[in-house]
Amino acid sequence: METIKASLTLRLQNEEKLIHFEGTRIALVGPSGCGKSTLAKILVGVSDKGSGSFHLGETDLMQLPAWRRKIGYTPQDLILLPHLSVKENLLYPVNSTLNQDVIEGLALGHLLERMPRHLSGGEKQRVALARSFSGNPKLLILDEPFSSLDLKTKERVVNFVNNTTLFLKIPFVFISHDENEIQLLGCTSIHFS
């Protein structure tokens, strides 16, 4: 599994923040509004509020545009493309395939033909998570990916993410408030203030 190594400066509203981390499973922890989601967007390549380096193995992803980074991204706001069905959303990432293991693991089989607006918050979150795996990503950025799930589903989904990322050898950056989730996923916590 390739190592993530980042050394970044974030330009937030009234301040600049320096952040360094290294590892294969990184958890960004901190209070609401401290810039975690902005950092996630910088890592994904869709925000210009940061500068520095963000290496995956030998490649500095900061030198690549967002569409060449091969990152599986689960945004915090459950963004699904509203004009596409669940199946079409799962197939949206470039070079994506419908992975039956992911569909079964996240219990999405019966939702494939539905439109996003007919899904509950938890269902949307599972679809967004499944979609982040569907483009054969080299890295995952998961921004509070379990926040809308009930306790029982959350446990199953956290285990699924843990096992799948281990099996596929995909490193990830995980944003969460939940220490329990961070422990279950065996992440290195980076505190963000």
Binding site: A66, Y73, Y92
Partner: protein
Amino acid sequence: MDLSVASAIKLSLIVGFCATLVALIPAIFMAKLLDHKKLKFKALLNVLIFFPMVSPPVVTGYLLLMLLGRNSWIGKILESFGIHVPFTILGAVIASVVVGFPLLVMFIRAAFAGLDPQLEQYSLSSGHTPFQTFMKVSLPLSFPGILAGAIVMFARSLGEFGATVVLAGNMEGETRTISLAIYSLMDSASRSTDANTLLIASIALSFIALIAYEACNRFYWKKIEWKQ
């Protein structure tokens, strides 16, 4: 129906359709360009695009005549290719495009501005280039706004008078659209019957345009609904 009345209706439809078709793609491009926060000379571009909307149409027509008339350098170039703009149907189309373009851009820009930027951000992160993202996300999700803009532009073209009369003139069977025909009939003896026919035709066309918009809009949402 009098032949001149039929010809005015036919010319209005031709001018309306052509003007809308010609303006649509440049308007989409311009709206997307103006959507960029960091665009240089954005204020200047805005002034240039929206000037015909705030200036008197006759002034716009006169400026177009100076720009594209036979004595202007653009006019001379066009003439050398056999293209005549003043006092032709092409002139009427150009007048309608210039006057209606700002409205079309305004509608499409509002449609783009209403999109959640996170959808485009997500698309980029999924490996799609900005152009692919535009085609697969921005354009389909802005369809109702683009359609509304096209219908308004078409309706505006049907009613265009000032710029058209200056650039294209008012020649029966060649450049006399519904608005110009009604104006011409106001001084003629046969005005009551023909003017009334044109009036009804004009109102009917406006209603048909609005009904077409509703139908297309419903079809679009039905298509999405149907997929569930």
